[in-house]
């Protein structure tokens, strides 16, 4: 059993469809820790010690947020800026996150084909996520392919939310094929690389 930390960040909960469904789906899962970042730090006063300890206490970090202007909501950035300190996450003596795994679960408003050189977003989705990928690398964490919902404003949120719950359980039970999860561009609810074994 891996110790799993699920962090959820959405400043406009009232208008969220997919992310809120994902959050709710995650609430029913035993043995993982879920954190609503905007509820914990509504005034951005992040408790660095506490957050670092939270990271130390877990093996897998899943960061769930909607993509706003090709990046994370402001509080996620603030949380990373403050928590991934020099001497903790990187730099001299900064090896406390070594060997852990980081995975993003993001929703994008545009359709999948928009995220290509020919599409109107002009870049691959993974290009926009390189800051997170490199953050993981500098912290000596393994960066897994992100779990993505494209066209989040139109699609039915239910399958994606169920898939997210499956993903969390698989991560918890070490049933996700990590090498495939690392090599994929991104994962969706119907392309989860699970290892052999009965799904729960």
């Amino acid at each position: 059993m891996a110790r799993l930390l699920h962090i959820f960040a959405h400043p406009g909960r009232a208008t969220s469809r997919v992310n809120l469904s994902m959050w709710r789906a995650a609430q029913g899962i035993d043995g993982i820790d879920s954190l609503d970042l905007y509820s914990t730090y509504p005034r951005y006063a992040i408790d660095i010690e506490k957050e670092q300890q939270r990271l130390v206490d877990h093996d897998v970090l899943v960061l769930q947020f909607p993509l706003f202007w090709y990046s994370a909501p402001a509080l996620v950035k603030e949380w990373i800026d403050l928590t991934f300190e020099h001497g903790f996450a990187y730099g001299q003596g900064g090896d406390r996150l070594r060997g852990k795994q980081m995975m993003l679960a993001v929703t994008a408003g545009g359709p999948q084909d928009a995220y290509s050189h020919q599409g109107y977003q002009h870049f691959e989705l993974r290009t926009f996520l390189t800051p997170f990928e490199q953050t993981a690398r500098l912290s000596q964490m393994t960066f897994l392919a992100p779990y993505v919902q494209f066209g989040a404003l139109k699609e039915d949120p239910a399958p994606h939310a169920r898939g997210f719950a499956d993903l969390l359980r698989a991560l918890r039970d070490d049933r996700l094929d990590l090498s495939r999860a690392q090599q994929a561009q991104f994962l969706t609810h119907d392309t989860l690389p699970l290892t052999e074994g009965a799904p729960t």
Partner: protein, 645 residues
């Protein structure tokens, strides 16, 4: 009674007329008083007024001034001054006395008289110099500090001089003066010998009593004043506090006189002891008017005391001697300035400032004459020289400003003057509100000066090292004593809303450089404070009420971040209506009778109600709803269609 009123009126009117004119002409208040005294002298002569006895009374102003100087001087600073005090002061008195004595001897005086004259002219005028330095803001400069050291040493040196003078008594004059060698000096002068604690005691007993008296002053200052002042402060009657302050100063002066010590020295010591006390600023502002009036009276009596008959008869001799004495004193001072590294214009300030003889000279002259040291024909001439030298001092200060300073202003820039910066933040009111502000400022490393009129609370504060002072913070004089001139920020957190508004009005008018952060009791108080000129107004319970509301949102299950946004939106909306209505507020009409205000307030309420009806939510909800809102499906479709076409 009529005589008294007439006399008081004469002195007051002379001062009131002459001093503002002199100040306007840039001559300084001291010269104004002196001129007023001269103009007054024929009238006084006509009325047969005993100017000298008034002068003795007025000399008490010097005692008060030394007390105030002591209040400004923490013991540590006094200790830092010791080298200058003893070295500079000692050498100035010693060398000047020796040179003047030698000159007098050369002029044919017998050696006893020469020594007495030397001692008399070694002294300078504490009253004129300190008053002028204070007025010109030069007290903290290097030259000002050196001058103060010398003056303080002189005030102390007067005592042994008074003990020493009778030993010089001339055999031929013995018997004509009856004064006793143990006579006290200073404010009481030659009519203060009626009571003494040390009369008829042996030398060691006198020493013992003297030491005990000094110990008493210090001990009383350290341990007795605080409970006593606190007790008095609880009465909340200002005049009683002033009476207590006067009692304190006069009592010490009296005690010092009784044991044959300088009252100025005694009150100075008491001042130093109280320099760290929470009552310091209150004492300062209470005593200061008395000091000012008495010193003014003193300067007028100096002016009125000029013997114009004598001056007319021996003009050249007297003037020559005056200039000679001053030149000699200045020479000694310049030499000392060089040795003690009081440089450039500061050296000039020191040399020109202290070149006069002083009020203690009068005391020594009358005492020496009474002790048969000075022949009767010499004493009035000496008095005249002392007076003239004092008259010339303000002119020297003007010369310093007009002739000396410009020469040094062009010189290459020096390192900045060492100004001991006082605290830059004044906090008026240290209750539940002001204390939080103060703690925040202190924790950020700022220096604050706290003013409050709750004596018990202040005592507790000072136990924790807070610079807190007793007094009614709305009084301009107390603000002045607390250093409003140098303050950057004034925090007004007093409970009385009207006085808070008045305070804003006063400070914005007289000290526009000070940023005022004021606490408002409610919406109307915000308008009043704004009208008085404050531009940084915080409603005292508003923020905590908003937090309470937010807390209730959360308790009702609202997401913490949404609760935060809703609270922010509420604050925005509230401030908008506050601004909208500010222009309509009229302090003279209650809001519910102010038609324009009432109408607009109703309109705003109606606006809010409409919004609630329209959306079924709070009026400010729309404001909190913006941000992170994705386009609606219809918008998305429209955008896709337009792209496709």
């Amino acid at each position: 009674m009529t005589d008294f009123l007439l006399l008081a009126f004469l002195f007051l009117i002379a001062g009131v007329i002459a001093v503002p004119i002199a100040s306007r002409l840039g001559l300084g208040s001291v010269l104004g008083y002196l001129i007023a005294g001269i103009l007054l002298s024929p009238v006084l002569a006509l009325l047969h007024v005993d100017v000298i006895s008034i002068q003795h009374f007025a000399e008490f102003g010097v005692v008060m001034m030394l007390f105030l100087v002591g209040l400004e001087l923490e013991p540590r600073l006094l200790w830092d001054m010791r080298a200058r005090l003893l070295g500079l002061g000692g050498l100035q008195v010693g060398v000047t006395a020796a040179l003047v004595a030698a000159a007098a001897y050369a002029f044919g005086q017998v050696w006893q008289v020469s020594v007495a004259i030397g001692l008399i002219f070694a002294l300078s005028s504490t009253a004129i110099v300190l008053q002028t330095l204070n007025e010109k803001g030069l007290m903290k400069s290097d030259g000002g500090q050196a001058s103060f050291s010398v003056l303080l040493f002189q005030d102390i040196a007067v005592i042994p001089m008074l003990a020493f003078l009778p030993l010089l008594a001339l055999p031929g004059l013995a018997g004509s003066g009856a004064a006793h060698g143990g006579d006290s000096h200073g404010a009481e002068g030659d009519h203060g010998a009626t009571l003494s604690l040390v009369d008829g005691l042996a030398g060691w007993q006198t020493a013992l009593v003297t030491l005990a008296a000094i110990a008493l002053v210090i001990a009383a200052g350290m341990y007795l004043t605080r409970p006593a002042f606190r007790f008095i402060a609880q009465a909340h009657l200002r005049e009683i506090f002033i009476a207590a302050a006067l009692t304190f100063v006069i009592g010490i002066a009296l005690l010092m006189t009784l044991v044959g010590l300088s009252p100025a020295l005694g009150t100075f010591l008491a001042g130093v002891v109280l320099a760290n006390s929470e009552y310091r600023h209150e004492l300062e502002s209470d005593i200061d008017p008395f000091r000012g009036l008495l010193l003014g009276l003193f300067f007028m009596t100096v002016g009125a005391g000029i013997d114009f008959g004598l001056l007319g008869r021996e003009t050249m001799l007297i003037l020559g001697l005056t200039v000679g004495v001053m030149a000699l004193k200045a020479g000694v001072l310049f030499a000392l300035a060089r040795i003690f590294k009081v440089r450039d214009e500061q050296g000039w300030l020191f040399g020109m400032g202290l070149a006069q003889a002083g009020e203690f000279g009068f005391v020594l002259i009358s005492f020496a004459a009474a002790s048969s040291v000075l022949p009767p024909d010499i004493a009035p001439r000496l008095t005249l020289i002392v007076t003239l030298s004092m008259m010339l001092t303000p002119l020297l200060f003007i010369a310093y400003e007009k002739l000396v300073l410009p020469r040094f202003e062009d010189a290459e820039p020096r390192e900045a003057d060492e100004i001991t910066a006082p605290s830059h933040i004044i906090i008026a009111g240290h209750g539940r509100f002001g204390s939080v502000v103060n703690r925040m400022l202190l924790s950020a490393g700022h220096e604050t000066t706290v003013l409050d009129h709750n004596a018990e609370m202040l005592e507790r504060l000072r136990a924790f090292g807070v610079r807190a002072f007793y007094g009614d913070a709305t009084r301009p004089d107390l603000l002045h004593a607390a250093g409003i001139e140098q303050a950057k920020v004034l925090v007004i957190a007093i409970d009385d809303r009207h006085r808070a508004t008045e305070m804003v009005r006063y400070v914005t008018e007289h000290h526009p450089h000070v940023h005022i952060t004021a606490r408002a009791m409610d919406r109307n108080h915000v308008y009043e404070l704004w009208g008085a000129g404050c531009r940084d107004i915080i409603r005292d319970t508003f923020d905590s009420a908003v937090r309470t509301g937010r807390s209730v949102y959360e308790a009702l299950g609202t997401h913490a971040f949404e609760a935060e946004r809703a609270a922010r939106a509420f604050v925005d909306e509230n401030q908008r209506t506050l601004r909208e209505l500010a222009g309509l507020y009229d302090p003279d009409i209650p809001n519910h009778k102010n038609d324009a205000y009432r109408e607009r307030a109703k309109e705003l309420l109606e606006e809010q109600a409409q919004q609630i009806r329209a959306r079924g939510r709070g009026a400010f909800h729309e404001r909190s709803e913006r941000g992170w809102t994705p386009p609606s499906p219809a918008d998305v479709k429209a955008a896709a269609d337009s792209q496709g076409s």
